[in-house]
Symmetry: C2
Subunit: 425 residues, 2 copies
Amino acid sequence: MTTASICTIGDEILIGQIINTNSAEISKALNRAGIRVRYHFSIGDQHEEIVSRLQMCLEQTDIVIVTGGLGPTRDDITKLALRELSGALSFVRSEEQYRIIERVMNARGIPMIESNREQASVPDNCEVIPNELGTAPCMVFRGLGPKGTSTLYSLPGVPFETKGLLPKVMDDIRTHFDLEYITHHTIVTFGIPESTLAKQIESWEDALPENIKLAYLPNPTIGVRLRLSHFGEGVPDFSPYISSLKEIIGDAIYGEGEDNLQTVIGRKLRSMGRTLAVAESCTGGRISELITQVPGCSDYYKGSVISYANEVKTNLLKVPIEIIKVHGAVSEETVIAMSTGLIRLLDTDYAIATTGVAGPGGGTPTTPVGTAWLAVATKDRVITKKVKFSADRMTNIERFASNALNLLRLEIEKDECVVCSVWSW
Amino acid sequence: MTTASICTIGDEILIGQIINTNSAEISKALNRAGIRVRYHFSIGDQHEEIVSRLQMCLEQTDIVIVTGGLGPTRDDITKLALRELSGALSFVRSEEQYRIIERVMNARGIPMIESNREQASVPDNCEVIPNELGTAPCMVFRGLGPKGTSTLYSLPGVPFETKGLLPKVMDDIRTHFDLEYITHHTIVTFGIPESTLAKQIESWEDALPENIKLAYLPNPTIGVRLRLSHFGEGVPDFSPYISSLKEIIGDAIYGEGEDNLQTVIGRKLRSMGRTLAVAESCTGGRISELITQVPGCSDYYKGSVISYANEVKTNLLKVPIEIIKVHGAVSEETVIAMSTGLIRLLDTDYAIATTGVAGPGGGTPTTPVGTAWLAVATKDRVITKKVKFSADRMTNIERFASNALNLLRLEIEKDECVVCSVWSW
């Protein structure tokens, strides 16, 4: 199996100022291509440290991916370390990257100075993958390491530039390394915790053929993604395994690939020509934020009322004050009144409502911190759900929000079925 | 200078499934204590790999902090590797951690099984720092490395457990290592980009005494934090430097330490007994979410209207339809009408309003993607600001939101001054 190591360079990582997201991004891409990542390494902007660590990486892995230390300032010294490491005699200018730098500086309205020009200059023994999103190019050094078979890719450390260059780097790796042929299919689920899911589908997993492997990828907002990986050439047919999985976990499955609750909800609402509004109390805007993360959501999302104070619930959403007095602000009765009040107020096809106690304060013996009532209303029905978590404020809010989105997703799917069955007549 | 290395263990990091936030958290704590972090290392759950990498860390640094691989499942093998590495003869039970495990399992309503009991068992040559938040304790191995002077701390990898144990680990480090005496003071600013700020305060920075160092810690939501670090014993008086800094950058300074815009706004509103509401279009709930991240925000925050569709702007916020027709939804006129409409609707002392184009679609030649109008209204005035960014949708939303919060912060400060001057009469 081809092996790789990832090395991030920059003092800002070692003082904890920034979180290293590049390594995870690169790991994901390598892992999908069937390359085993042996380790991640983060080091500071010191010449000897960079040279000796990269030497170690080149001794131990076939591919070394380096990010960071390519900026125009004095503390960016990765290029000099790479020159020493690769034994380059001099620097040459990459004309292609030079033209990009001119264009980038022009667009930013900043005059080109010497330090910008120097960013196009690279060791004479490397190949260049131009970076369209910034000024520092990706440099590729081949034939390194004790056996002369290792390749080093040096990328800028700005996350969106790293991300932008990654597909080109992966293409280069596929061209130059004899990788095992892998095809993935990811199934996205919500509502069953990872450990329970693992037990439920144990025999299904055991029955998978030898050349298909399963990976669990849990995420608090998205749910648990199940990734099937087929090893070997050809285009595999995953559909029989997906069908048999659906028989076990049913409507916990809601999407595939990069889907999440808000994109799937958006796609369904758009195709059905239906609209959505949100009434949030304990989630304080998080559900609305998730929905508006999706570009083009104005096609189906009208707006929200964040009714944090009870007077907003009564005045805007027309929740009868007696309901709050008798049943409390965190109750099934209140969440129902919020959702139906919102449907009337904003005249949408669907409405989500939430009311609960995110913590750390505000809990009572009957309604402890971590409790929330969720509702989904349409013009003719309301579905409610009570959830109970025991995490910190931010995690509780996140779980309330994703569970509310999932409740909506399930209701939309019911209506889709009705639409389908009408169509099939 | 005392040196440290951080080693995170777990296959989920190497396949890119989770982002390594622990290393940044630990780095920050070590850095604040004046310890130099030489590198971060992430490796998989393989015995030889763990032993050999930790041996390297112990050879090269005084302190090694290890997280991960302490769970109750088969793939968690860190403890066995530590036994080999430290030459422990057997395992003993930590009675203190055992009692915590019993309590944790009880609270979760899960029966205690053998694998849970085993989590309290540790190599006989380590000290235990009990973990109140989970089942695996922190283990401390002293006298390791070639000189017998290095210490290894092994912590569970669950981020909130790591974070919870970190203060105790830092106390232990301070007790056992002769650290340089460092005192920090952090000043929080918003509104001046890092590079501009660096130029503006260059001569102020140059005039700092030799034993005071400055660090820039930029964050898109919080702003740029300036950390002053005083090296040497005694309680330093930072106030003259802060005063002279205020003369240069004035009201860009808004807080200190761990302050952010939403906590500072909350503190001021609470002490003034004033209330807040938010009308969001392009920010889609992000401002409300930031405000409700602060526990106890119900003391001053009433609620929000997310008026994504124009009909919500006209129906709920009573923005005259002619204003939108004549000036457009993204205009100063609209944002003013949104903010004043909201003040009337929710009867608060302050209202924030936003309308803009987050992208990637929806831009026009006169209102390109990245443009937003922000407003802050009180009962008797409205302040507006136009901002223009050129990033992706999520980053644009984040910048619109933090700039709107900063606009509110500045207005609240004006009113505070009035209150102060009235009081001083």
